[in-house]
């Protein structure tokens, strides 16, 4: 598939989503809204994991500060419930970026599993603050955000709110897509593939990784702002380790290094979790099984499925020229 065809098909799916979902039941609308908030978070993880080769286990921290900022401003100062909501969006991204800029100073020095451990530890610091800083965060009880912003558009209406989150989701997808195709984004791929060579080619790889980390933090903060109004309750549960792990698994499930894969992964995880949990008590095993099967049989994620299919088909036809094709296709997942 050519690049243009890919863009057209993603745009088509987005349009279909925007048309069908608002006409579905309110449960589906809410579910999709939640999934899109997490899709933004998962895409920010993908920027690090899929494009830069950094497996961040602490993305919930930036999500959390964005969400807490929104909740605290709304509940304690009644700020961000009118036009100033847009200001809160900017502040949420800024606080996510600022926290990432601080954490990045510690984390970017490490790589591989050490990077993972450091981001995990820093993420837990934020969780600890949310849990213990009672006067600000409400501790274990969290903060209730009872009102959604109303600036001409009444966002208390679930369907109107869906369109707002959808717009943010689509904009994030487009912005991140431009980013990963830009000279800067392509240099991240080089760092993922071979960092030492990049240094010898004249790249300050530390700086490139640091900038990518901050951008991912900003999008994490944005996802948090939207989540605060989606969920209505912000508690330490929001910044718990599971949130980070979930976002990482969404990326792996959908396919790292594809952006769209992160969104698909988020959709599948939410759908499975919400639907299955109403049907069977053992839904977590089903989710776990999906993860295991993906990692075993589709290491490139669901986005790598078409290539994998062609590879299998090419290998079974025992045609030397065909299998050559399959080899080429299999190596082009991203």
């Amino acid at each position: 598939m050519t690049q243009t065809m890919k863009i057209v098909s993603v745009a088509a799916v987005l349009v279909v989503l925007a048309v069908i979902v608002p006409h579905s039941s309110s449960f589906v609308v809410l579910l999709t809204t939640r999934a899109m908030c997490f899709a933004i978070l998962a895409m920010s993880v993908d920027l690090l994991l899929g494009f830069t080769g950094l497996s961040s286990m602490g993305q919930a921290a930036y999500f959390g500060v964005g969400a807490y900022l929104t909740a605290i401003l709304a509940a304690k100062f009644h700020f961000g419930l009118g036009w100033d909501f847009w200001l809160v969006v900017l502040m949420g991204m800024a606080i996510g970026a600022a926290l990432a800029a601080l954490f990045g100073l510690f984390a970017i020095r490490a790589s591989g599993v050490y990077f993972l451990m450091i981001t995990l530890a820093l993420g837990q610091c934020v969780w600890g603050l949310a849990y213990r800083w009672n006067s600000l965060t409400g501790g274990d009880n969290g903060i209730n955000v009872t009102n959604r912003p109303n600036f001409g558009l009444d966002l208390t209406n679930e369907r109107t709110f869906f369109f707002l989150v959808f717009a943010f989701f689509a904009a994030s997808l487009i912005l991140l897509y431009i980013l990963v195709r830009s000279p800067f984004g392509r240099s991240l791929e080089g760092i993922r593939e071979r960092e030492l060579r990049m240094q010898i080619l004249g790249y300050n790889t530390w700086l490139h990784k640091y900038i990518a980390f901050i951008i991912a933090g900003a999008f994490g903060g944005l996802a948090g702002v939207l989540w605060a109004h989606t969920n209505g309750l912000i508690s330490p549960e929001t910044v718990v380790l599971t949130t980070s792990v979930d976002s990482l698994l969404m990326v792996v499930l959908g396919g790292a290094g594809t952006l769209v894969g992160a969104a698909i992964g988020s959709g599948i995880v939410f759908a499975l979790r919400e639907y299955l949990s109403t049907l069977v008590p053992w839904w977590q095993y089903a989710l776990g099984g999906v993860y295991v099967l993906t990692i075993l049989y589709l290491p490139t994620g669901l986005m790598g499925f078409p290539a994998r299919l062609r590879q299998i088909r090419g290998a079974s036809t025992k045609n030397p020229s065909k299998s050559g094709d399959a080899k080429k296709l299999a190596s082009a997942p991203s």
Binding site: S182, G185, R186, E193, R197, Y203, N204, H208
Partner: protein, 255 residues
């Protein structure tokens, strides 16, 4: 291809009393070396003599224990690698060090962008930079890679990958190129090709070469230094090195 082309020329690379220890092991001992513009120098020595370590010191991958590295007259001893590259130095690696999952074209594009400010641009597609692409096509055409530009590097043959290593080194328009065993793992036919490829490069480009393949060394280099246990034992023309008794003993005669 004469050494020290003109008197009064500043050396592109100068090493002064360079030492490196890893714990108790002295990998580099008091190496002093001078490369003039357009020089073709080779460093030979048995395995473990510290040749690649020396390159890692010159390019800033390892910090030096003592001594100085001067690049175009500037003391770069404590500079990080990417800043040394910006001055006009490039290197290739003994173990092929390309971007295996990217295409040949993407590899070269990354190499060209390394020294351009546009590497920080995030709001424009890379494909909109026509000058970068033109240069990449030019480099690939000169190296005879244009027909394979969309192949993924991991699907290239070893010999092709070794050549692409050098193309990546040339992409930043360096004034000095450090080649770490460009002919490593090549068949004798491919080595000859490699030597021809190297001799075709711009005569103004200084080359410092590590190589085990003596045919390549004698073809390409006009001056050879012999490294043994981290120390420069002897420096001379290929004739002198060829007939040196000391070199025979430690290098050519040991196996």
């Amino acid at each position: 291809m004469t050494s020290a082309s003109a008197i009064g020329d500043a050396p592109v690379l100068e090493l002064k009393g360079l030492c490196k220890s890893f714990g108790g092991l002295q990998a580099t001992r008091n190496v002093t070396l001078r490369v003039m513009p357009g020089d073709r120098q080779a460093i030979i020595g048995p395995n473990g003599a510290g040749k690649t370590t020396l390159f890692n010191l010159i390019t800033g991958i390892f910090p030096v224990t003592s001594g100085q590295v001067l690049l175009f007259g500037q003391d770069v001893t404590s500079w990080p690698s990417h800043q040394r590259t910006a001055l006009g130095m490039a290197r290739t690696f003994q173990v092929t060090s390309l971007f295996p999952k990217l295409t040949v074209l993407d590899n070269v594009l990354l190499a060209i962008k390394g020294l351009r400010r546009s590497k920080f641009v995030m709001w424009r597609f890379l494909s909109s930079y026509k000058d970068v692409y033109d240069k990449a096509y030019q480099l690939l055409e000169n190296a005879g890679f244009l027909d394979r530009k969309d192949a993924e590097v991991r699907n290239l043959s070893h010999g092709e990958q070794r050549q692409l290593e050098i193309v990546l080194g040339l992409a930043s328009d360096p004034k000095i190129l450090l080649l770490d065993e460009p002919a490593a793992g090549l068949s004798s036919g491919e080595s000859t090709e490699m030597a021809e490829f190297l001799m075709k490069l711009d005569p103004g480009l200084a080359i410092l070469l590590i190589e085990h393949d003596m045919d390549v060394v004698f073809d390409v280099a006009s001056q050879i230094s012999v490294l043994h246990f981290g120390e420069i034992l002897e420096t001379g023309t290929s004739q002198q090195i060829h007939s040196s008794a000391k070199v025979q003993e430690i290098y050519l005669g040991t196996d």
